[in-house]
Symmetry: C2
Subunit: 415 residues, 2 copies
């Protein structure tokens, strides 16, 4: 039997046992994991340094090496994040609906764990702890499949989790890590329908696209954010500039950053140069449509492909539009259904934009950077869903639950 | 451009427009469709008779021909079902959550249409009307892909819907029907990720399995029900027999019918013959494990394959088990996560069964036949989901909605 199949079976079995565990038992397990990270610190750092060594030999970029790197501070942060997770309310067991039937049947819909979650991710060993502890909190078993560039780190972190779980009532098999990081193990996960209830990819666009395209198990699509800001005719200059700068430059590498600014032509004629100057001053490279390039000859022209592009860098595309409808149409064509904002003093235009733009989060007079599980007050974030089924937008603990109908009777049959 | 691609685009465009339609506008459209069915009755019956004629020539079975067949009564029923649908509450617009942030941001999560729904189904022209009207009620566009054996009926019914929509504010393109019913058009739908938000298969196991296995668009898996009844040691004879008969014989062809009965060995030794006699009297064919065959030599032995089988007929498999844990383990291995029941007077056993059996609906002392959107009081049913994401169990109108975050500010940026 292959590793994936074997671990899939074990995870499924563990997931059945997890259905009977109390919040106290799950929190106890989290406390032990939080502790064990500190106990095992020296071993974790030693293994992590092997990944870093291999990464340097392979010529990985500094930014990738930084993602792989663990140190005392980062381990302490992981340990403390688990303490925060313990404090969050357990969504499992919540009664979603109670139906009393005339025939005496009582139908209760309750929140239950999903079952077995698969997580496929790139070079970030912190995801191993993050995903495993979110799964434990919600009573799910999890199968982790990280990348080869963090394999020593992922392996030792899984060992730490297992040592911690061995001290508790929870089955060790609840957390499985696939050691074989070749393409075959990913493919097996894509089609592990008998044991996997959902597969969540975390990483770049190409990883997510591959999973969506190939997997026959249910997938939650996360991440890609080609987010727009539309500056309407009546937008206040200061607000428009402030939100443009915040959306583009506060953290350019994240999915809720702004990639494209659409500007009403009257506003652009009046304030376009000021907006561009403010962005340029912050080091933002600007590419624009014909009107932008005409007015500001230093601007590079944007290609058709650019309007689809999530730059994740200090680059922004700017397009001049005639009205809110043109902005909406552009966003619904080129956007990725993540976060979209309008700056306007016209309430009607705001309502139209919020209603007709198709995205997980739509903003009036605020920065798209707020689309985030912590900012929304969920206390945790599994990812940001850009699909419309199951969960949309920032996903907190509830996104890792399903529902189940409990029906109690005294012998009722259907007539 | 292919038919599927063209209609996919048109449906997507219509779905954007539908976001702005009110409950009154959608109900008005439903009323027009209800009317138009009666107006177009003669034309519909004439086209339907072509399908029946072709079906007879192709040698379709009487039961399939009966599913294809429309008559005045059936058209009247469809028309009246729409009147009932009009009366149901519109889930779109419901505020699911309001978050007031300290910085003054107001975050509202609202129910919105999913967007574009694909429905792929077998020889039942009534699904054309059913699915289209559920979509209209929830503000979704829909792409219908029925089977060639009902193509004339589906075509004329779509024409009826379009005639009705033409009298309203709703875009005609909201309802699309794929006329090309070959394998290629299905394959195209499976991968129409740019235009389709969800694909729902309605039909037999082989159709559903194909869609789940092949589609890269999100799928809601419905239907298959290998449902079990576990008769525990303390079960009352009369109740156990009544529920067995109801579960197996009241409507054997449906997904919530009982396919397998697990019996505690002590109960079986005392009452097994009575149970079997009662089932046999109702015309049920029984296949059993070794213990059943030993005690009742007239019983045919069940193969390993039989425990996985949804008979959808007057056949039931019976297995003797030692305790509730063995019953749970058997169900979690062979079941399809649909509906599972325990008959017991032992509350602890009941709780254990309900907690650890992994299914959309779990019953204590009641028939599995109640798993149904109408029985649960939803007023409509899109299908019964046996997966755990998005919707589980009977799906009402809410299952055809998603959520969207509306965020309103006065220029807030992230610090």
């Amino acid at each position: 039997m292959s590793e994936v199949l074997e671990k899939g079976r074990a995870a499924k079995k563990a997931s059945f046992q997890l259905n009977g565990k109390t919040t106290a038992e799950k929190n106890e397990a989290l406390a032990r994991i939080s502790e064990q990270l500190i106990i095992d610190q020296a071993e974790i750092l030693a293994e992590n340094s092997k990944d870093l060594e291999h990464g340097k030999q392979k010529g990985l970029s500094d930014s990738v090496l930084d993602r792989i790197m663990l140190n005392e501070k980062r381990i302490k942060d992981m340990s403390e994040a688990i303490q925060q997770l313990i404090k969050l309310e357990d969504p499992v067991g919540e009664i979603l609906e109670t139906i009393h039937k005339e025939n005496g049947l009582i139908i209760e819909s309750k929140r239950v764990p999903i079952g077995v979650i698969g997580m496929i991710y790139e070079a970030r060993p912190n995801v191993t702890i993050d995903a495993a502890t979110l799964a434990v909190k919600t009573g799910n078993a999890i199968i982790l499949r990280g990348s080869s560039s963090a394999q020593y780190s992922n392996y030792v972190l899984t060992k730490t989790i297992h040592r911690a779980l061995a001290k508790t009532n929870l089955p060790i098999d609840a957390v499985q890590s696939i050691e074989n990081t070749n393409r075959e193990s990913a493919k097996e996960l894509f089609h592990l329908n008998d044991y996997l209830d959902v597969l969540i990819p975390r990483g770049g666009k190409s990883l997510i696209d591959t999973v969506v395209k190939e997997a026959s198990v249910p997938v939650i699509e996360t991440g890609a954010g080609n987010c727009h800001l539309f500056i309407d005719e009546s937008a206040k200059l200061e607000m428009a500039v402030r939100i443009s700068i915040n959306g583009k430059t506060q953290r350019p590498s994240v999915c809720n950053a702004i990639e494209s600014i659409l500007v009403h032509e009257n506003w652009f004629n009046q304030y376009g140069e000021e907006l561009v100057a403010a962005l340029t001053e912050k080091g933002v490279e600007i590419i624009g449509d014909e009107k932008v390039c005409q007015k500001l000859p230093s601007t590079k022209p944007a290609s058709e492909e650019d309007w689809y592009t999530e730059f994740l860098a200090l680059t922004v595309s700017i397009k001049v539009v005639s009205n809110v409808d043109e902005a909406i149409e552009h966003i619904n064509k080129y956007g990725t259904r993540h976060s979209e904002a309008i700056i306007t003093e016209n309430q009607e235009h705001a309502n139209s934009f919020l209603t007709f733009v198709d995205a997980a989060a739509v903003y009036h007079n605020a920065s798209t950077r707020f689309t985030d599980g912590f900012e929304f007050g969920f206390g945790a974030e599994i990812g940001i869903s850009t699909q419309k089924l199951h969960a949309r937008g920032p996903m907190g603990l509830k996104a890792l639950t399903s529902n189940k109908y409990f029906i109690r009777g005294e012998g009722q049959v259907r007539g």
